[in-house]
């Protein structure tokens, strides 16, 4: 093992530690910003509203998880459709992706919250509308991620399975998708973070999640500094936790003997 490898190995070993140090530095910086505010008589007010903010954070986590799962399930279907030889299925999935990718998420959220209920003549909760909008939006992106992941699996893998008499569906299920999923994981990680951040847009249709609460508090108390910065820190904590855990999974399911060890 040469010097460079040793160094890389050490960085890898202490990666979580380094990350925590960075986080602590960020927090110290933020507290410094907050200090003048918190030392005044507003400090108590800010402190007292923390549970209220954290409740919002829990809601944000719930919304994000549901939307990510919804997007993942639909995304796999869309991704498979995009590599289908059936012109119809391919065409439909392409249109789906282009429409969703080509319109702003905020517009889609309003369509689900206001346009669709009016068309079907049946109101549904803004939370549900938001989840559908967020999940579908993500499914288009995840579909493209899966398509890329599937196409990155060499055709020889498919042919080998078929030449052994394994039918199309089991070949996709047991040979192609497990490898495609590994290929897709880094990009999926990115997409999941985007979903967490995008969930803040639901404040616009009255879902009282983290950002809505922070914004509300900032407005009522005339204290934008602690609340907007606080909200940002909470989002950062959520996204960092998610991306770090996924990076661990990535490492764990890495195929031995393949690629650079990450």
């Amino acid at each position: 093992m040469d010097k460079r490898h040793e160094f890389v190995g050490k960085v890898r070993k202490y990666q979580p530690l380094i990350l925590i140090i960075i986080l602590v530095l960020i927090i110290i910086a933020i507290i410094y910003v907050l200090y003048p505010v918190l030392t005044g008589k507003d400090a108590l007010l800010v402190w007292d509203s923390l549970p209220f903010l954290l409740e919002g954070a829990v809601l944000t986590v719930e919304i994000s998880l549901v939307a990510i799962m919804f997007g993942l399930g639909l995304g796999i279907v869309v991704g498979l459709a995009r590599v289908s030889k059936n012109r119809m299925i391919y065409g439909m999935s392409t249109v789906y992706i282009e429409v969703i990718r080509g319109t702003p998420l905020i517009v889609q959220i309003f369509i689900w919250a206001f346009v669709v209920p009016q068309i079907i003549g049946y109101p549904f909760p803004s939370m549900l509308a938001g989840l559908i909008a967020l999940g579908m939006h993500s499914s288009a992106y995840q579909g493209e991620i899966f398509r890329g992941g599937i196409q990155a699996v060499p055709t020889g893998q498919y042919e080998a399975a078929r030449s052994l008499g394994v039918p199309h569906l089991p070949t996709m299920l047991y040979v192609i998708l497990p490898q495609a999923f590994r290929n897709a994981l880094p990009a999926l990680n990115n997409e999941f973070i985007i979903v967490i951040k995008d969930s803040s847009l639901l404040y616009a249709i009255g879902v009282f999640e983290l950002f809505a609460r922070g914004s509300n508090l900032a407005g009522v108390t005339f204290l934008p500094i602690p609340f907007y910065l606080g909200v940002a820190i909470i989002y950062l904590t959520l996204t960092l936790t998610l991306s770090r855990s996924l990076a661990l999974i990535e490492k764990k399911i890495q195929i031995p003997g393949l690629g650079v060890s990450a």
């Binding site: 060499p154 020889g156 893998q157 042919e159 080998a160 399975a161 078929r162 030449s163 052994l164 008499g165 394994v166 039918p167 089991p170 047991y174 040979v175 497990p178 490898q179 590994r182 195929i255 031995p256 003997g257 393949l258």
Partner: protein, 245 residues
């Protein structure tokens, strides 16, 4: 065992197969030689219907595989292919590469699959590597596992598509060794290869292909010492001169 009649295949303007007739009898080892682009690999791919031929008939053990009504999967498992680039399932251990088809195709239970995996890995001398992933194996070892994977189906014949062309010269020996032992066990084999030495020693028949047609077909001793056709002579002369270098 395998009967090919008047097989045609074009990719766009290129006629890759121009009416191929070929018979492989049970227990026979047939080696197909010929220059690059002569349609050897396409012939194998058409026999297993990985590529659909434009015209012609392929019969495998009494089943006409070119008939659109035939269930391809049930024929294919009798004539698995060993590929030039091994194509082992990269996310599965050696033994799981073997048991996947046993489970999905033959519906064997876990114990049977393990026994079968043992049996074939032992046959190719890879028993000690059964828990290794393909990425951890050398090319020669990967190809031996690929042969074991084909063998595990207890097939009626095995097709080899240039099985040693992606290997270093020092690794071809171990793969050819396994193929030799299969041949001596009486396995029916259709081999596309540039290994003249292997063809000379192991083949029952050697087939020379050029421009999508079979030019000559005969016993190896005759093909390599006294071929009838001028084109075969030219190819062998060029080829042997090249491989001596």
């Amino acid at each position: 065992m395998i009967t090919v009649r008047d097989l045609h295949k074009s990719f766009g303007e290129t006629h890759v197969l121009n009416g191929v007739d070929l018979d492989v009898e049970k227990g026979e080892v047939v080696v197909v030689i010929g220059p690059s682009g002569s349609g050897k690999s396409t012939l194998l791919r058409c026999i297993t219907m990985l590529v659909k031929p434009d015209k012609g008939k392929v019969e495998v053990d009494g089943t006409v595989i070119t008939d659109p009504k035939v269930n391809l999967d049930s024929v294919r498992r009798n004539i698995p292919t060993v590929f030039q680039s091994f194509n082992l399932f990269m996310h599965l251990k050696a033994k799981d590469n073997i048991s996947l088809a046993l489970e999905v195709v033959l519906h064997m239970d876990k114990k049977e699959r393990e026994e079968r995996a043992h049996e074939v890995l032992k046959k190719v001398g890879m028993l000690d590597k059964m828990d290794a992933y393909p990425g951890e194996l050398s090319g020669g070892q990967q190809q031996r596992v690929a042969i074991a994977r084909a063998l595990a189906l207890h097939p009626k014949a095995i097709l080899f598509d240039e099985p040693t062309s992606a290997l270093d010269p020092e690794l071809t020996g171990e793969v050819l060794g396994v193929m030799r032992s299969l041949a001596s066990d009486g396995m029916t084999m259709l081999v596309v290869s540039h290994e003249i030495e292997f063809a000379r020693e192991v083949a029952d028949r050697v087939v020379f292909m050029e421009r999508g047609k079979i030019v000559e077909d005969g016993k190896p001793e005759m093909m390599f010492t006294d071929p009838r056709e001028d084109r075969t002579k030219q190819f062998l002369k060029r080829f042997l001169a090249m491989s001596k270098r």
